[in-house]
Symmetry: C2
């Protein structure tokens, strides 16, 4: 297991977002994923929480008092508690924002205005501030005010209509993919906006949404819809227009095979002893093979069932045929490639044991992502952050006394 | 339909990547998505293609000689043909790279070395260059040399194991999600590396992979696996630990409802006339309702079947209950919110009619994404790009004569 760094060099250059301060008003998942990505790049992320803290602190598997789900999405953040409903709390927030480069929020549209951080006020008070918003549907348009949730935006975006089988009908996928995609887009937008600010001295608003992020990820399916006016069918594990393609049966389990071209297909069939099939008219072209898919699949299953998954995967990969197995999450986290890529990190959380979490999907050779600090206990950095914002010890005590922090 | 801009202001500030030149060696999907995202932010993207061009030019629905799939992933790019197997072609490539800020590629690991662009050579010749690689499994580790494909990395990442129903078993999702996520991560990494380069004058290598990108998107499912050692089950449209949650039946179709908290659940049940159920012991707590899910779902279906989707969606959203309908892609592209968010663009392609494509998922208020140019015909900018790189007309003619370009 890796120690929380990634890449060969460490520390010779400062991280990309070293010196960038982020005030983070987000909770649950989409916004926290955005601010986590910024923290992984070295930003100083100040997570602002209400007295009860982010709900995710109480969700998922909790070990030694720490939700591992929370821990994995809130590394590299500091936590301050702040009552944003009180005037004093709003004043503290403004002082934090005055010292920040980026504000991230995933409230419903309109909440920032109530905090005195509407567009006009921001442009007047904090012209260099980059404000990133992650929301359900975008802040303009007929659905702007709707509450959102991953499942609902999977449904609305068209993603569910192209996930599933003819038997299941439209299907939600397990991971909350719309939250994560929107959070990643927002972090991407923040980097773009910081570049403009560094160059021109002007901040701006960045926005991504669960629904539109997913709309942008439908690839050839949306292209086909727009070109033909006809919705693509749900096809399960079959490819709509390629054959053979799918899960085939080795002695001890399935092997996923995707022969991407006729040349790759020839190598595949050659490896499993079926190259002669390509000489038969009913299997000659892809169109022929789509028509005879079930017959061909049965022949392939028969040819492959004499050897194990491992044998086939080694042989086919060596022959340049994209293939692999369907891994459970248990298998994935033990996968040697996942280890080599340092995608499972063991992060010590003082007082909460060691938390295992997924690593960094972006590798930067010179300035790698790092876990500089584990996810914070609720309010653990309230005093530090207030002091950095210029509050005197007695002022901090007074804020604490009155329940503002 | 929008005209290819997004946001209120246009053109007052230069785009984030104005003046950034990208040499783009990518093809198919993951890499082209990365370079498209950079182009949407204003980079000058030079797509380098072999004589046959990117395979996607011949894929998907083709109208007036243009693949709409290709068009939608290659906007904001210029195209130059170049034979990278010839020494002269490699020399041209090096001249392009010498004038570039970013190189993007999605070859298998090792191909860059053959082009004279291995790590050591790059650091010596082009120390300010940012090199982004998108590959299947990462460039180190036991699977580094394996050919990859979306379906295979959906399988290997664990995604398929948490997609599907108990009946279907592990299921691939329709969209090539691992390609798109990896491309987005790579573009995010490029922006981070450009920031370092602008500050420190040093380029670096950026890498993302189809498998590891997806591994990073399993959220509470991977957190649960790591915390408990037990793989989560596939649950279809049911939420593993929340009830009620799912698709319910209105008079004319399904309504997806996700009551995220007990308070929201109360509002939901109140709207459909079932608030009294919460007083009954068998429906009192979430745990009770998970145990009685099928009974509760039947009661909800019965309560909702008297009104239409549209009525319920309006009423429930107004009550703050996240809900929506499962939209086909046909419905999605006609959705008024999609229109308001300018997520379907009509882009004129001279000689190929008007191509409709998905818009920009990231909104930047001051420097919005734009379509400055439609996807290029193969090699359309060869002469321009070579001239900009300092080639004289007779040199360009000679390169053309010898089949290098």
């Amino acid at each position: 297991m890796a120690r929380g760094t990634s890449g060969e060099q460490t520390g010779t250059m400062a991280q990309p977002l070293a010196g960038v301060r982020v005030v983070d008003l987000t909770r649950i998942l989409s916004g926290p994923f955005c601010s986590m990505l910024l923290g992984d790049l070295g930003a100083d992320v100040i997570k602002v929480e209400g007295r009860e803290g982010d709900e995710v602190r109480r969700q998922g598997a909790i070990i030694e008092g720490m939700s591992w789900y929370f821990a994995s999405f809130n590394r590299n953040k500091r936590s301050i508690t702040l009552d944003l409903r009180s005037d004093e709390g709003k004043a503290v927030l403004h002082r934090l924002v005055a010292g920040a480069d980026v504000l991230v929020e995933n409230f419903r549209p309109g909440v920032l205005d109530k905090l005195g951080l509407g567009t006009a006020e921001r442009e007047r008070l904090y012209p260099r501030l980059v404000v990133a918003s992650v929301n359900g549907y975008g802040s303009t348009g007929p659905y702007a005010e709707r509450p959102a949730f991953d499942f609902i935006t999977q449904a609305m975006s068209g993603f569910m209509a192209v996930n599933g089988t003819p038997e299941t009908g439209p299907l939600r996928c397990g991971p909350p993919i719309t939250d994560l995609v929107a959070g990643l887009y927002a972090a991407f937008g923040v980097l773009a906006a910081l570049r403009v600010r560094d160059r021109d001295g002007r901040g701006q608003a960045v926005e991504s949404s669960l629904m539109m992020g997913m709309v942008s990820m439908l690839a050839y399916l949306s292209a086909s819809q727009l070109a033909t006016g006809t919705p693509p069918p749900v096809t399960g594990n079959d490819h709509p227009i390629a054959s053979p393609y799918g899960l085939f049966q080795a002695a001890d389990g399935g092997v996923a095979v995707a022969p991407s071209t006729q040349a790759v297909l020839r190598r595949f069939l050659s490896e499993i002893g079926l190259e002669h099939l390509l000489a038969e008219p009913r299997f000659a072209t892809n169109a022929d093979r789509v028509a005879t898919r079930s017959e061909l699949n049965a022949l392939i299953d028969e040819a492959m069932r004499g050897e194990t998954q491992e044998t086939w995967i080694a042989r086919l990969n060596a022959a340049g045929v994209p293939c692999g197995r369907v891994q459970t999450l248990a298998e994935m986290v033990e996968d040697p490639q996942v280890a080599a890529q340092e995608m499972v990190l063991d992060i010590p959380h003082p007082g909460h044991g060691t938390v295992r979490m997924t690593g960094f999907p972006v590798k930067l050779s010179g300035t790698p992502c790092r876990v500089e600090r584990p996810a914070p206990d609720l309010g653990a950095h309230t005093d530090d952050v207030l002091a950095e914002a210029g509050y005197a010890p007695e002022e901090i005590a007074a804020l604490r006394e009155s329940g503002v922090v």
